[in-house]
Symmetry: C2
Subunit: 235 residues, 2 copies
């Protein structure tokens, strides 16, 4: 394979990586805006998140098309092929993060104004901040091809799960105190759950990035979904 071909492949892959970065930036911005729209009852901002999701979906399609064209055109071998397939998977997770942010934004009206007491807003905000940090960090670690950081990012997802469990309990308490809180709190519960799931998608991205960088799969014991069932059960 000549030098020219190799460079062209790298150029093509560079375009795909640029799309991953763009999607990562958009995902982080959507999570931030969705959370702010929820906690400040900002319906205009919520609407923007919903529009952003259309952009996100288009980016994913563009990446998929480029990736498949690249495989067909260049017929890459092992390591290169791994990068392209990994990029397709990362894009799918980023697209899902966009969906989840959109779903938070769509609940802004249902939650309404002043439904979340200060303590609860703070807990949700803390959780959202942790999630946003993870989204930014995983894209940065992928760009830096930093395998060690990718492993620790996967482990950090546990902290989000712990915070989710705290929010879950706060919400239950608040619902039990006054049945009039139930509808709004149910929607907030799904918002918190969406943030927790965004954390799971970051974990998936870290795993795929690790696979691209090292050629090896991480062991199968990644943290999965939430553990509130177990937590509540043991109370």
């Amino acid at each position: 394979m000549g030098e020219h071909t190799v460079t062209s492949f790298d150029d093509d892959l560079g375009h795909i990586d640029q799309l991953i970065r763009d999607m990562g930036d958009l995902a982080g911005a959507m999570v931030a805006a969705a959370t702010r729209s929820l906690l400040q009852n900002d319906t205009a901002l919520a609407q923007r998140v919903i529009s952003d999701d259309v952009v996100m979906d288009a980016r994913q399609r563009e990446l998929d098309d480029r990736a498949i064209t690249l495989i067909a055109k260049r017929q890459p071998m092992a390591q290169d092929l791994r990068s392209v397939v990994g990029a397709i998977r990362m894009a799918a997770d980023l697209e899902r993060i966009g969906d989840l942010a959109k779903n938070i934004a769509k609940r802004v009206n249902a939650v309404g104004e002043g439904s979340a007491p200060r303590g609860l807003s703070h807990s949700i905000d803390t959780m959202a901040q942790m999630v946003m940090d993870q989204v930014g960090a995983v894209i940065a670690a992928y760009e830096a091809r930093d395998a060690k950081n990718l492993v620790s990012l996967r482990e950090d997802d546990e902290k989000i799960d712990v915070q989710y469990t705290a929010v879950f309990r706060e919400l239950l308490t608040y619902m039990m105190e006054d049945p009039r809180n139930i509808t709004a709190c149910t929607h907030l519960l799904f918002c918190a759950k969406n943030l927790e799931r965004i954390g799971d998608h970051v974990t998936n991205i870290a795993e795929n990035a690790y696979y691209i960088v090292t050629g090896q799969q991480l062991p199968l014991n990644r943290p999965k979904l939430d553990e509130t069932s177990v937590t509540v059960d043991s109370e």
Copy 2:
């Protein structure tokens, strides 16, 4: 490309399709068992669903490995490449269906015995049945390369969303009637939500199968996530 090469590629693809079928069967069985364990408070059955998920994850890894080896070895062109990449995506959705069934099973203890009144159990059961039918039907339509059926399956997801909204409302009512129901109902709410999300994954599978069969993407207006936010808002 010689006859021999084509046949070998088809053999390899046949193995991958067999894994899709196996994963589809397992996914349907897991959803059925998870729902039964939930509604009959059968913790032993719930435990089996949790174990089944390990098998599901292993199947997905096997399919991924085979698919990537196939691309590297055979360097397939357009249509064939599309089939392999589509299979990777379908496997990812089936694996997520397994995760969601497992999450239902993990909530069996938290929901406990006799928490769901007869009417509610019936609504959840109806929803689960619709979801199971969809899981079975999408794999069958893929096997039959039936593009028309794949389109209508994607549209059928709306019926699941309608049933989810009904369950969501029943659960809210039940929580408001008696605060002692709140914890159990919250878990049932997530179970119903998981079923609704399994429907979304069936939609994704239908879209990927359609792409494999026809070479064309379905338009972007697929039903996404739930609409209870909007529903509640308009009440």
